[in-house]
Amino acid sequence: MSDIFTGSFRVVAAGDSALIVEFEERIDPVVNDRAIAVAEAIQGAAIAGVRDVVPTYRSVAVYFDPLRTDYDRLVAQLREQSQRPAATSGVGRPPLRIPVCYGGDFGPDLPAVAEFGQMSEAEAIQIHAGTIYRVFMVGFVPGFAYMGIVDARIAAPRHATPRVRVPPGTVGIAGVQTGIYPAQTPGGWQLIGRTPVKPFDATRPEAFLMKAGDAVEFYAIDRVEYDRLT
């Protein structure tokens, strides 16, 4: 089970029931596109014994049943899949537009983010809402999309001590990442607003709003509009 290096990716074992296909070690849409394409190819190949395929920023985890397949056979199949042209990811599709009521009680850290960028709150909102983000991965809790890349001027670092409770729908920034808390959880991100949209709802036919590779754009709404949409 030694590491296998081929050009620009390598395969590492994570115990006897998972392996990780790793690409270049950086947060980069090009690298992420490769990871998503390989994940889709593995998923699409419906390989016997594969239990779960999880693309992340720069890697793909493949969970398998070692009694139904084995590491070497799986690696051979992965290599075959990685030769295929990249399948469809979100690139080129129109971005998903998500309304956000910025600031006030919903975004207690908006003043700090504006101060970080030495600008007004209105300018910080304009920058956050004026960027098209990529969903790099979904993880942490069901439906939490790690999005980027946040403009360096408002890329304030996360809090040293996380808040104990962040309300669902809260939009936050952590460095170059932005995201929406789908459920009430603890959280250390800079909270700048809230959306009436639910990223995850197990009772909906399509439970998840976003998947890795999607494009997302935020737009500002006022409190009246927020209440109307809730």
């Binding site: 074992a13 115990g15 998972a18 239990r51 890697s59 985890a61 009694l67 979904v138 069901p142 998947k211």
Partner: protein, 311 residues
């Protein structure tokens, strides 16, 4: 539909099937039993599908009233088990008559027992699984542990086949105060100092009080990072040992999150996951690095022992 009524819930009793697989790419944790072998065995003993939902009992067992006659089996951690006051065997199917009560007495060894009931517990599935995930509040009954007054809906036992076999010897060797757990190096072994794997094996680690179904916080020999304690967030497999800046590892278990940003020095082999699942705060783990060949051989041996019960 017939049901079992919860009279006392026990310390932490959750409904678990094999887990919510296939949605980790959407951030959905797998959950499932902490001791998957004992979960499967309990189902096999009452003739259920191996994926049927059972009750996972933690340290202190429940008290259940049954409306109709059911075949049940209890596996995993050893408890005194009583039906209307009469002692019943572990690791063997037995009948609970209609309108009678199953009660757990003293715990002898291990941390988690599994109660399989013929027909299974048929609460509605969420995203394809009945497993309770406590943090996201998903599965089981409203995503929480069972509590007194709950009614556990039971499936049709007619379509199950009672296994004749009782178990000659336990498949999971129950730990007493501690266990040797085998690991494979990686997936981020290169983020640690050269001697880190030796340090990991040099003395036992104690399982901290703030350990739960999500993970065991361990205290023991400090592991040194060589390239910092942050990685670009990636997947967190079952049994992986992630190491934050403190150098004290966290063993990720059934309710683990789907991804994390700490380097991971080693991963518990699948054959030893169930033993780890029988540990609780205060117990110790002695890690031993093994080879992939040893890991698979141990898993095949475990599978043979399980299949011997199934046939």
């Amino acid at each position: 539909m017939s049901a079992a009524r919860v009279v006392k819930a026990g310390m932490l009793t959750t409904i678990q099937d094999r887990g919510r697989w296939g949605l980790q790419s959407r951030g959905v944790p797998v959950a499932g039993p902490m001791d998957p072998v004992s979960h499967r065995l309990a189902n096999v003993l009452v003739g259920n599908d191996p994926d049927a939902a059972t009750l996972e009992v933690t340290l202190l067992g429940p008290q259940l009233d049954f409306e109709d006659e059911r075949v049940i089996a209890v596996t995993g951690a050893e408890f005194e088990i009583l039906v209307d006051g009469k002692p019943m065997p572990m690791h063997a199917p037995f009948i609970v008559p209609a309108e009678s009560q199953l009660r757990f007495g003293a715990r002898l060894r291990g941390a988690r027992a599994y109660i399989a009931i013929a027909g299974g517990i048929v609460v509605p599935a969420t995203l394809g699984s009945r497993s309770t995930h406590l943090i996201s509040g998903m599965g089981g009954i409203d995503g929480r542990p069972i509590r007194a007054g709950d009614r556990l809906p039971l499936g049709d036992p007619g379509c199950t086949r009672r296994s004749a076999a009782a178990l000659a010897q336990p498949v999971v060797q129950l730990p007493e105060g501690g266990a040797v757990i085998r690991v494979l190096a990686g997936p981020q072994r290169e983020y640690f100092s050269d001697d880190a794997l030796n340090v990991l094996q040099s003395a036992p680690y104690a399982i901290g009080q703030n350990s739960d179904r999500m993970g065991f916080r361990l205290t023991g020999p400090r592991l040194s990072h060589s390239r910092g304690a942050d990685i670009i967030s990636d997947a967190t497999p079952l049994g992986v040992l992630q190491v934050p800046a403190s150098g004290q590892p966290i063993l990720l278990m059934a309710d683990r999150q789907t991804a994390g940003g700490y380097p991971k020095i080693a991963t518990v082999i699948t054959a030893d996951i169930s033993v780890a699942g029988q540990l609780c705060p205060g117990d110790t783990i002695t890690f031993r690095v093994c080879t992939p060949g040893e890991a698979i051989a141990a898993l095949i041996a475990q599978e043979r022992a399980l299949m011997a019960v199934e046939t």
